[in-house]
């Protein structure tokens, strides 16, 4: 059993996920962790797949769907890695009038305190003349919520953005 990371993008329309996953299923592939979402007008798929046959067979299996739906596909063989142990303990919500540098400044500050981003979702939204940027980051912060809030505090003024930092409490029952 080998693993690969499959990336698929195409103009958003109904049926992309069905076509891709049916083709994978028919080619004896199994889907692992996946992120599938619309970004801009495009639908994007990133997923870990396990395949039984050779790499070329996966590409061949996807070919009819790729042609029919005008998709772009990228397949990277990857070694199987152990599951990451760190869990998200902090969620950072950022929003403000859109301008270049929001993501770069926030994530640079987070990297300085060893914050490991586990997922980041953002959206450019609002009135087209006055767009806003909304971003939600979840990750593991070795120094906890306070360290994150402290390192981000100066950006509220320098970037003119609203930032809130929440603990992500996992209730284990």
């Amino acid at each position: 059993m080998s693993q690969a990371l499959l990336t698929v993008i195409g103009e958003d329309r109904p049926g992309i996920v069905a076509a891709v996953t049916q083709a994978l299923y028919a080619a004896d592939c199994a889907i692992g962790d996946a992120s599938m979402m619309r970004l801009g007008g495009y639908f994007t798929i990133m997923q870990v797949i396990e395949y039984q046959r050779d790499f070329g067979a996966v590409e061949t299996a996807l070919d009819p769907a790729v042609k029919r739906l005008n998709l772009r596909v990228h397949l990277d063989p990857i070694p199987s890695l152990p599951r990451q142990e760190d869990v998200a303990n902090v969620r950072v919500t950022v929003y403000g009038a859109d301008h270049p540098g929001i993501v770069a400044s926030v994530t640079d500050a987070l990297a300085r305190i060893g914050f490991n981003i586990i997922d980041l979702e953002s959206e450019r939204s609002g009135n087209p003349e006055r767009p806003i940027y909304v971003m939600v980051i979840q990750g593991s912060a070795p120094g906890g919520t306070k360290a994150v809030a402290d390192v981000l505090e100066p950006l509220k003024i320098s970037q003119g953005i609203e930032i809130t930092v929440h603990p992500v409490d996992t209730v284990l029952l």
Binding site: V136, L172, L173
Partner: protein, 170 residues
């Protein structure tokens, strides 16, 4: 005292509805003692419901002291519990002994009032909030054959939920 084996999903027994407790006898109290020990032995150790150990009775235990210290009710033995009031909504991440390794976001009421009986059959009434309220609601779901997996919500849906405003008619 005994630590009881925990059923884990996809065991279909977790989806059964539990029956009310009728007899408040020594056997029940022994079971509650064993269930308490089983709860404390778990990874979270703050809540458990009887159906998780394959006993189809409406019995829930919650003790969030490991998380909140003394700022809570301590060990609550909730037999035949009923939610009599709830308010507020909050998204929180939950995990469950019956669903190893997986955690996910669930919406729960922030404040609840619960009526229940204790191990002796006496009426009890609790008001809980936050973490403790979440634990009680999670465990009470087990009595109706529900897992937190049945209530998973997309993070995107909660955080980016948009209000759709009707355009003004001219």
């Amino acid at each position: 005292m005994a630590v009881l084996p925990i059923l884990t999903y996809p065991d279909p027994r977790l989806h059964r509805k539990a029956e009310p407790v009728q007899e408040f006898d020594g056997e029940l109290r022994q079971f509650v003692t064993d269930l308490t020990e089983t709860m404390y032995a778990g990874p979270g150790g703050v809540g458990i419901a009887a159906p998780q150990v394959d006993r189809l009775q409406r019995i829930v235990l919650v003790d969030v002291r490991p998380k909140l210290g003394d700022d809570c009710h301590g060990l609550m033995i909730l037999i035949n519990p009923e939610l009599v009031a709830w308010e507020g909504m909050a998204v929180g991440r939950e995990g469950c002994m019956s669903v190893p390794d997986f955690t996910g976001n669930v919406i729960r009421a922030e404040r609840i009032q619960v009526r229940a009986q204790d191990g002796e059959g006496r009426d009890r009434f609790y008001e809980c909030q936050g973490f403790e309220a979440r634990a009680v609601q999670h465990e009470m779901d087990h009595l109706d054959g529900l897992l937190f997996l049945d209530r998973l919500v997309s993070r995107k849906t909660d955080l980016f939920r948009r209000k759709q405003y009707q355009p003004k008619k001219k």
